[in-house]
Amino acid sequence: MMSPAALIRRAAPVLACLGLLAVWQVASLVLKNDSFPTAIDAIRAIPDILGDKESLINILASLRRMAIGFGVAVLVSIPLGLLMGRSRGVAAFFNPLLMVIYPVPKAALMPIIMLWLGVGDVTKTLVIFLGVSLPVIYHSFEGAKAVEEKMLWSGAAMGLSPAQRLVRIVLPAALPEILTGCRTGLVLALITMITSEMIARQSGAGNILFNALDMGQYDTVFAMIIIVGAMGICLDAIFERVRARLVRWSEPQFDMPLSFS
């Protein structure tokens, strides 16, 4: 039997979602706007989308691009960020480059990338890669920079080479910070995934959404928004589980079960 406090904590996210849907339902009934279907209509449209083979192929194609973009970004960004954090020279070289790229909306680069690489998977995956890379690099950099010097000295005294220290001390010590970056990166991957499909329509979840919008199928539009939102929540929840397991040893901190980044 759960304590009342635990019960409330468990029920709170569900209640928040139900509350949001209720407000939506009422607002839509009051406003009576064609382009604003009720929550119930939108939810009713979900099975149609998920039952349709074509739509499923589109959504899976989106997820595949997102997984590849995210995975490659993480594999490249973590080593780069760690090197920047431990070497002033590397940081001095890459910092200005990243500062230039950081504020640029990655979607704004899409027309140029499309020009070079076409409207296919490579372009969209590249945009996702760019979106994910920066927060992961930044957090890896900060995490590596904050690693206690004395911890590295202790490792050096045990006979660890500089490369071993980077992999076996800096990486685990910075892991909580790195994973914070990855979590932000995951949400950005979802956002850039949809944006890229908005600009280069061809396939994907974003393609279904914007095609429905063009055709005035507003319940489908809102159903897709719910689906994308649910995908984000699920991915984040899975990631959070993995993260919590990996950094169990680090300080416990207050955390919401869902991220709102």
Partner: protein, 281 residues
């Protein structure tokens, strides 16, 4: 009694003509200058020469900012001196190595490893087989009084317990010299006393060479065979004092011993006579 009040103008150079066979660490005219800003250099250490004999417990005592930790880092190979040389067993120190095991005030444990994981790390790195390393580590953990905490993470331990783990972790790879950098400085008075007692008990078993940095006169006299008094700006050796007290030392006996009391009072007076602030007692 070897305590001789030094005149402030006359820096007593430690004797370097000891038996070379027994010297394990030789520090020869080491200076360390840090560039704090474009205009100003900070001389942390000035012309330090010191010989440490094998098996000796030597404390480096001085006010904060006298460069005593820097001297320890130079012996550890973590910092290269601006000039002069430091040698271990006749070989110039060029970097850190498992023959010199540091224990830091900040503990510097690996927080992602359990107590056992931390202690076993050094021997595993040195190529000791897993089962053997683990057995040795468990013995060490018991020796520092942490039996039952093998699977705890550092964040679950108190400061005193963390420092016990750090000591066990360093002892685990059998360094010839222990380099202790104000190891009990971050602990409360009670914990500090207990760790001092336990450190002495552990040390008296195998009498490793210990270089122990502290700003506490009591601590230095209680633990050491020899106290190196330093003064600051620039960091110099002011006097080297042999502590001629019997071992094994027991705290409750020693505190009543007039010889112990005289060492403490004399050393404190010498710091007071200097123009710079003395260390805390």
């Amino acid at each position: 009694m070897t305590v001789v009040p030094a005149r402030s103008s006359e820096w007593v150079r430690p004797v370097t003509s000891r038996e070379p066979a027994s010297a394990i660490i030789e520090i020869d005219r080491v200076s360390q200058v840090f560039q704090t800003s474009a205009r100003k250099d900070h001389v942390a250490l000035s012309d330090i020469s010191l010989t440490i004999e094998e098996g000796a417990f030597v404390s480096i005592l001085g006010p904060s900012g006298c460069g005593k930790s820097t001297l320890l880092y130079i012996v550890g190979g973590f910092v290269s001196p601006t000039s002069g040389t430091a040698k271990i067993k006749g070989h110039a120190i060029t970097g850190p190595g498992p023959d010199r095991g540091p224990v830091f005030q900040e503990f510097a444990l690996f927080p992602w490893k359990t107590v056992l994981g931390n202690v076993v790390y050094g021997p595993r790195q040195q190529g000791v087989r897993a089962a053997e390393a683990e057995a040795q580590s468990r013995t060490l953990i018991e020796m520092v009084g942490l039996k039952g905490f093998e699977n705890f993470y550092p964040k679950e331990l108190s400061g005193g317990m963390k420092q016990r783990v750090a000591l066990a972790r360093t002892l685990a790879y059998h360094p010839e010299v222990l380099l202790m950098d104000e190891p009990f400085g971050a602990l409360d008075a009670h914990t500090r006393t207990r760790l001092q007692n336990d450190l002495l008990n552990i040390w008296e078993r195998d009498r490793k060479t210990v270089l122990f940095v502290t700003h506490s006169v009591d601590e230095a006299v209680f633990l050491s065979d020899k106290v190196v008094m330093m003064s600051k700006s620039p960091g110099r050796i002011r006097q080297v004092i042999d502590i001629d007290l019997p071992r094994p030392r027991r705290r409750n006996e020693l505190l009543l011993d007039s010889r112990y009391q005289k060492y403490v009072v004399d050393i404190e007076r010498m710091f007071d006579d200097g123009d710079e602030g003395g260390p805390a007692s």
